[in-house]
């Protein structure tokens, strides 16, 4: 729809009240689709992006209801997150892992008998020490890369493209797994409390619905997802701290909580070995997945971004470390053990501390289920952001770089949801098999990022660079050791799959990069080149099957472009062709007509051949083929019109020396 109002301001001279007075009225009419911006620019209003068709308007309206009003780029700052909203968004992944990390270690230790549970606390202390180290390392990264210091950026900037892409691929795999595993865990926890879900096999559909829900909320924008998901995460945090606090107080007062009796999980017995301890350590390390989320998302914070991100990172790690140690300590105090009846360690501790299944116990359990599902939120915050950075660098399809109507990276959000759903459906919801793959990617990216930071400090050599380099260096070494531990301990359990997926993704991204780079070279305009005046030396050809207005319109256009316009008519009926020719010679002047007789009733191919011959014979002259095309208003019209035009365009597009241009013909009202 054309804007009926003019948008260019006009200056109207007027005479003043007194003789000799002169003034100018600047008429700046407000248009429906545009308004005036700064420095004489014209800014499109929301109305300018509204579709014209009824179906398009319906879709647009539905999106408004579902996702909210369209946000302007200028509103980006208002979408930034304060610390209290950023904490649940970026930490729901790490926080949720407290619910299962200790238990995961205990399941492994169970193989060596209950005496091995004594190792849980030392392992937990080791993991928290590692967490502190990684936190300090990332604090430095955030300061050094205030525009987003994800592993990819740091590794690429300091170690090169390949290490950067390895870090990126590892993280992308991890984000997808996080969504699939965490939402599935949450739903299966819920299914334990609500048996009807299991009875009617509703888990997988419910997992899919949950992923779609988280996707929808994220498409509304980061700020809204933060507002919506903050409450469940804070309730979980409160419940965890309360259960640990009450447990500590009760123990200090000599009334230590005791877990209710349960049937221990029948683990396959094996002797205590270094490999077993390494596996338990690796399982516990799953608590650290998502630690890098804050560093990746620095630009999402309110200014000063780096300071707020650093503070959020420290708060997140402090809470994670306290809860993780607290849970491991309560395991020892209460005597909770992995259960054969499905009663989780957290459930046993809750029942022990609250003396049974009280309302506080249920708040703890339901908030745990909620936070497990919301752990996907961290991935939904970071995956699209990382994908957008990769797209801007030319290693991902470009659409991932664009922000949607709500300033969210919509393509990345939708892609993450789709891949996760495919994964969940393919595994029938049984994603526990994916857990061994979980953390190896994250620790690979930790190692690459920290190594990159060492190089960064070494090159920059600013004040205190030695201390910073040592912190990141130790971080790199320790996380590298963890990667090796993972590889050894989890290789046979499925970690080998990562060794296939990550290289495949890296090769894919390199190929995309090569493609974009070659396109860039092809499209590069040399700075010294000057575009000359209009030339009419090109050859214009108009395929013409009949004396019709659409073809005549194309011929008229051709005559404005070139002195040499040729109409080409392909026929199997010489008599009709003669009539056509007579009419053409009568009505069309100055345009040559070539009639190609095709007795085999094939019209498009001879035309293509003719165009190829003309283009190949004189490659220095550009052949412009003007194809009349009827404007389609309804979907069913596609089957009735333009079939030859589509075929011709498909055959000729990209042919050297030939430019194909559609000449749309609007049906007269």
């Amino acid at each position: 729809m054309a804007d009926p109002q003019p948008v260019v301001p006009s200056r109207i001279p007027r005479s003043g009240r007194k003789p000799g007075d002169r003034r100018v009225t600047v008429d700046r009419p407000e248009a429906r689709f545009f308004r005036y911006g700064e420095q004489g620019t014209i800014v499109a209003k929301v109305a300018a992006i509204e579709p014209d068709s009824r179906a398009g308007r319906l879709g647009f309206g539905a999106r408004r209801v579902l996702f909210g009003r369209v946000l302007s780029t200028h509103e980006e700052m208002e979408q930034r997150l304060p610390k209290w909203k950023a904490l649940p968004i970026f930490s729901s992944d790490v926080m949720s892992s407290v619910a299962y990390a200790s238990e995961a270690s205990m399941f492994t230790l169970a193989a060596a008998g209950s005496v091995a549970y004594g190792l849980l606390m030392p392992i937990s202390i080791l993991i928290v020490a590692l967490l502190i180290l990684v936190t300090f390392s990332y604090r430095q990264t955030i300061r050094a890369y205030p525009n987003g210091g994800g592993s990819y950026i740091v590794a690429r900037a300091n170690l090169g493209v390949l290490p950067g892409l390895i870090a990126a691929a590892s993280l992308l795999v991890d984000y997808v797994l996080t969504v699939a595993v965490s939402v599935s865990s949450g739903v299966y926890n819920l299914s334990a409390a609500v048996p009807i879900l299991d009875e009617f096999k509703l888990e997988v559909p419910l997992i899919v619905i949950c992923i779609l829900l988280v996707m929808t909320v994220n498409l509304r924008g980061l700020k809204e997802s933060g507002s919506l998901f903050a409450a469940p995460t804070y309730i979980f945090l409160g419940s965890m701290l309360l259960v640990i606090g009450i447990g500590v107080v009760r123990t200090a007062l000599g009334n230590a909580p005791v877990a209710p009796p349960t049937t221990p999980f029948p683990a396959a017995l094996e002797g205590m070995s270094l490999l077993l301890v390494m596996r338990a350590f690796a399982d516990g390390c799953s608590a650290m997945t998502g630690t890098e989320a804050v560093a990746n998302g620095v630009p999402a914070f309110k200014p000063p971004e780096w300071k707020n991100a650093q503070m959020t990172m420290v708060i997140m790690s402090a809470l994670l470390g306290s809860m993780f140690l607290g849970m491991s300590w309560l395991v020892g105090v209460t005597g909770a053990v992995p259960s054969a009846t499905g009663d989780s360690i957290l459930s046993q501790i809750g029942a022990a501390v609250y003396d049974g299944r009280t309302p506080l116990y249920y708040i703890l359990m339901f908030s745990t289920m909620g936070v497990l599902i919301l752990a996907a939120q961290t991935s939904f915050a970071d995956f699209p952001r990382l994908a957008s950075i990769l797209a801007k660098d030319g290693f991902f399809p470009r659409q991932f770089a664009f922000r949607g109507e709500r300033l969210a990276f919509s393509s990345g959000i939708v892609a993450l949801a789709i891949v996760s759903i495919v994964l969940v459906v393919a595994f029938g919801g049984d994603v526990n098999r994916l857990i061994p793959l979980y953390a190896i990617g994250v620790f690979t990216s930790f190692t690459l990022s920290q190594s990159g930071m060492v190089r960064h400090w070494w090159t920059e050599r600013g004040p205190g660079w030695r201390r910073s380099a040592v912190i990141n260096g130790v971080g790199a070494m320790v996380t590298a050791v963890v990667v090796v531990i993972f590889a050894i301990a989890k290789f046979a359990l499925g970690a080998w799959i990562v060794l296939i997926i990550v290289p495949v993704m890296v090769v894919g991204m390199l190929l995309i990069g090569r493609e974009y780079r070659s396109a860039q070279v092809e499209l590069h305009v040399r700075p010294e080149s000057v575009i000359g005046p209009p030339s009419r030396g090109q050859r214009v050809i108009v395929p013409m099957q009949d004396m019709r207005r659409d073809a005549i319109q194309a011929i008229k256009l051709g005559l404005t472009m070139s002195k040499s316009v040729v109409a080409v008519h392909v026929t199997d009926d010489l008599h009709a062709a003669e009539q056509f020719r007579a009419r053409f010679e009568e009505q069309v002047r100055g345009v040559d007509l070539v009639i190609v007789e095709s007795p085999y009733r094939e019209f498009v191919r001879p035309l293509i051949r003719y165009l190829e011959f003309t283009a190949e014979k004189d490659p220095s002259v550009v052949t412009i083929v003007l194809i009349p095309e009827r404007i389609i208003k309804h979907w069913w019209e596609r089957f009735l019109y333009n079939q030859s035009a589509y075929r011709l365009r498909d055959a000729l597009t990209g042919h050297p020396g030939i430019i194909v241009a559609d000449v749309p013909f609007r049906r007269p009202r």
């Binding site: 062709a577 100055g590 007789e597 095709s598 003719y610």
Partner: protein
């Protein structure tokens, strides 16, 4: 035609001969059996040259032209060269 300068006439003849060449190439490739190049302003002037070019490929060119017409058409098709 009266308004055409000498250079313009030469350019027009070249252009019309190029169209004949395209028609010859099309028939030689087997993509068509007969090609009519119509609405030629200097068709009568290019006829002999067109015949010579077509003859090299054992094709013939016939003129479809009535005296008094402003334009003429040349038909290129397979067959012995016209006398």
């Amino acid at each position: 035609m009266d308004s055409l300068t000498e250079t313009a006439v030469r350019d027009e003849i070249d252009r019309e001969l190029r169209l004949i060449d395209d028609a010859i190439a099309l028939i030689r490739a087997g993509a068509a059996v007969r090609v009519t190049v119509a609405n030629l302003r200097l068709g009568s002037s290019v006829l002999e040259a067109a015949r010579a070019r077509a003859g090299l490929h054992r094709l013939r060119v016939t003129a479809d032209w009535t005296p008094g017409d402003e334009v003429c058409a040349l038909v290129v098709e397979a067959g012995p060269r016209d006398g």
